[in-house]
């Protein structure tokens, strides 16, 4: 066999592969993106024509979409759910970052009796599935009288083992000499945390904040059981209501509700794409 035919075979394989991979990538991208695109189109289309006639492959009417959004926001409890969820997410993020970074500062940079035991326990809890704690936690929240309250939603999630792990990993890379320099500069323990460790951990904190936002916004099970009163419904629950089998809503209205729910995480993704992807990859490679 001459080397020319071998080369030709390789070149042919190369071209087939090049062509195939584009076809494949585009197909997968369509499958991944289309449902979201379709949802968008359903909202921004004239409600008149039934879907079976016009399958909504592209948006047709901006104004009808806007009016649907307006109706949902004004005439349903959606707006309140929005505020509840934003409050839920923001308070969780702030609390988790503050409490977690304080603890991570100690775990990563100092030694004190009982540290290994406590940290080991927290890391062990990463292995324990939420199913085993969710009901007893609910019962505790009920006992505290926190059902249907913001603190009931937020507080039990603040001591996040995952968040602590992420921050400890990061703070371990802070040089010990810098902490000592601050100590010699007369900074108290808390001030070292506040002026040195905290600002230097900004990257890890931002990553954790974004991941936490995505997770809280998408949390369905916990609000479902702990905040069953309509006044404190989260977006997830309201969307669930719209979608319930006997809600008798038309597809346009339901999709508008869905679209509004997807907007914040989608915006976050578009802005912080890099950080989100890094954060997920990081948690994977450390696991």
């Amino acid at each position: 066999m001459s080397s020319v035919t071998v080369n030709q075979a390789i070149v042919a394989e190369l071209y087939t592969w090049r062509f195939l991979k584009w076809v494949l990538a585009i197909c997968v991208a369509v499958v991944a993106v289309f449902p979201i695109w379709w949802m968008f189109n359903v909202v921004f289309a004239d409600p008149g024509t039934p879907v079976s006639i016009n399958p909504r492959l592209y948006p047709t009417s901006l104004s009808s979409g806007l009016s649907k959004i307006q109706i949902i926001l004004m005439e349903t409890p959606y707006l309140r759910a929005y505020f509840v969820t934003i409050g839920y997410a923001l308070l969780t993020i702030l609390g988790m970052l503050l409490i977690g970074s304080m603890a991570a500062f100690e775990f990563a940079l100092f030694d004190f009796p009982g540290k290994r035991l406590l940290f080991g326990l927290v890391m062990l809890s990463l292995m324990v599935p939420t199913v085993v704690t969710i009901i007893p936690t609910y019962l505790l929240v009920a006992e505290l009288g926190w059902l249907n309250t913001m603190q009931g939603l937020v507080v039990p999630g603040l001591a996040s083992a995952f968040g602590l792990f992420l921050l400890v990993q990061f703070m371990r890379t802070l040089p010990r000499e810098m902490i000592e320099a601050a100590r010699l500069d007369g900074a108290s323990h808390f001030k070292i945390y506040w002026y040195i460790a905290l600002p230097l951990s900004r990257n890890a904190m931002v990553t954790l904040a974004i991941l936490t936002f995505m997770k809280t916004w998408g949390n369905f099970a916990w609000p479902l059981i702990v905040a069953p009163k309509p006044e404190i419904y989260t977006v997830g629950q309201v969307v669930g209501l719209f979608n319930a089998p006997f809600s008798h809503q038309t597809v346009d209205v339901v999709m508008t509700a869905n679209l509004l729910a997807v907007l914040p995480p989608l915006l976050f993704f578009l802005i912080f794409q890099r950080k989100i992807v890094e954060g997920i990859a990081m948690s994977g490679s450390k696991g």
């Binding site: 000499e177 810098m178 010699l184 900074a187």
Partner: protein, 364 residues
């Protein structure tokens, strides 16, 4: 400006002893250098002085005041770290003023003091930069500036120049000497580079294995070492050590034989040599050994190679007994001859017993 006294300080990490029974008295305004091989406890001693480590035993006095229980920030010491330890998220000015800010000083005073320190170190143009935008030497100067701003009684430097390249190191050394003269402050400087120690120090502390081997002026350490460790550690190239036996001794002399495994013997003036000592180690610096004619008092040496540095030439060889031997030769080129005879300048000979202790003649 302050006097520092360390009284029988020991330090151990768990069961590992790092410092044992350190006693030092450092005068006000003195520049003292700690030298010693890696891991001998220099940094630990420094960190104990400043309070980052707590001594296991002993006391530390600054200006006569016991500071064992005084917070590191309030001892009146300032430390410059090997890694600079600058705060990367603050500007140079903020870095230098951080200590004052923590002390609650008003902004105007912080600005003034930072400005003064910056002027001393020629950092005025860099005040708004961040550490990431500085060169190594500039970072080092900022770290020193941070120490100056605190106006400490004692400056502590832990190998501050080891991250710099050779040229910058020489330049920074000169700046440090200048700084010391201008501030007239007590400074303690850690290094494991003995050239640095010799050039900077008023007095040197040689540490080994957590024990002070000797504390004295650089040339005293060089000329009159207390033990074999100091003799070998100070000076470059190193002092040569040759085994010898004591043939006989009198009230004013001692005669050594089998020097470096050769059959030569040497009579040295030495007042009241301890007759119970039968074996000694003879120390001789390269510059006190001369190439000479074969003779009764010269030791044969086989030369292996020569280091021709221009101004001097160092010949590396071995005595018949196999001890390495370095000889300094000022003139001529290395002709390639291998068998030589080396004569010792009697004034340059130092004797040590088998445990490395210096054997000194009685003075009177």
């Amino acid at each position: 400006m302050a006097e520092l006294e360390i009284k029988s300080v020991s330090k151990s990490f768990g069961s590992v002893g790092v410092l044992s029974d350190i006693n030092l008295k450092i005068a006000s305004g003195e520049f003292v250098v700690f030298v010693g091989p890696s891991g001998c406890g220099k940094s630990t001693l420094l960190r104990t002085i400043t309070g980052l480590e707590t001594e296991t035993a002993g006391d530390i006095f600054i200006d006569g005041k016991r500071v064992n229980d005084v917070d590191p920030a309030k001892r009146g010491t300032a430390m410059v770290f090997q890694s600079y330890a600058l705060y990367p998220h603050m500007t140079v000015a903020e870095n230098m003023g951080f200590g004052l800010k923590m002390a609650g000083e008003p902004k105007a005073i912080i600005r003034d003091k930072v400005g003064q320190a910056a002027a001393i170190l020629r950092l005025e143009k860099l005040l708004e930069r961040r550490p990431g935008q500085l060169s190594g030497g500039q970072k080092q100067r900022v770290a020193i500036g941070r120490a100056i701003v605190r106006n400490p009684k004692v400056f502590l430097f832990d190998e501050p120049l080891s991250n710099l390249d050779a040229e910058l190191r020489v330049q920074m050394r000169a700046e440090l000497i200048d700084l010391h003269r201008r501030l007239n402050a007590t400074m303690i400087y850690v290094t494991h580079d003995q050239v640095e120690a010799m050039t900077l120090a008023d007095r040197i502390v040689v540490l080994n294995g957590g024990i002070v081997q000797q504390f004295g002026r650089p040339l005293d350490l060089y000329d009159d070492p207390d033990n074999r460790f100091v003799a070998g550690f100070i000076g470059s190239p190193k002092m040569n050590f040759l085994d010898a036996v004591v043939l006989e001794s009198g009230p004013d002399h001692v005669t050594l034989g089998k020097i470096g495994g050769s059959d030569r013997s040497l009579r040295l003036p030495f007042r009241s040599f301890d007759p119970s000592i039968k074996q000694v180690v003879l120390g001789i610096r390269p510059e006190h050994a001369r190439l000479g004619e074969s003779g009764a008092d010269s030791v044969p040496v086989i030369i292996n190679f020569a280091e021709e540095l221009g101004d001097v030439t160092y010949l590396h060889g071995k005595t018949p007994g196999g001890s390495p031997m370095i000889i300094r030769s000022d003139k001529g080129r290395f002709g390639g001859q291998t068998d030589c005879h080396v004569a010792f300048d009697p004034g340059g000979i130092r004797l040590f017993d088998n445990d490395g202790r210096r054997l000194r003649a009685d003075r009177n």
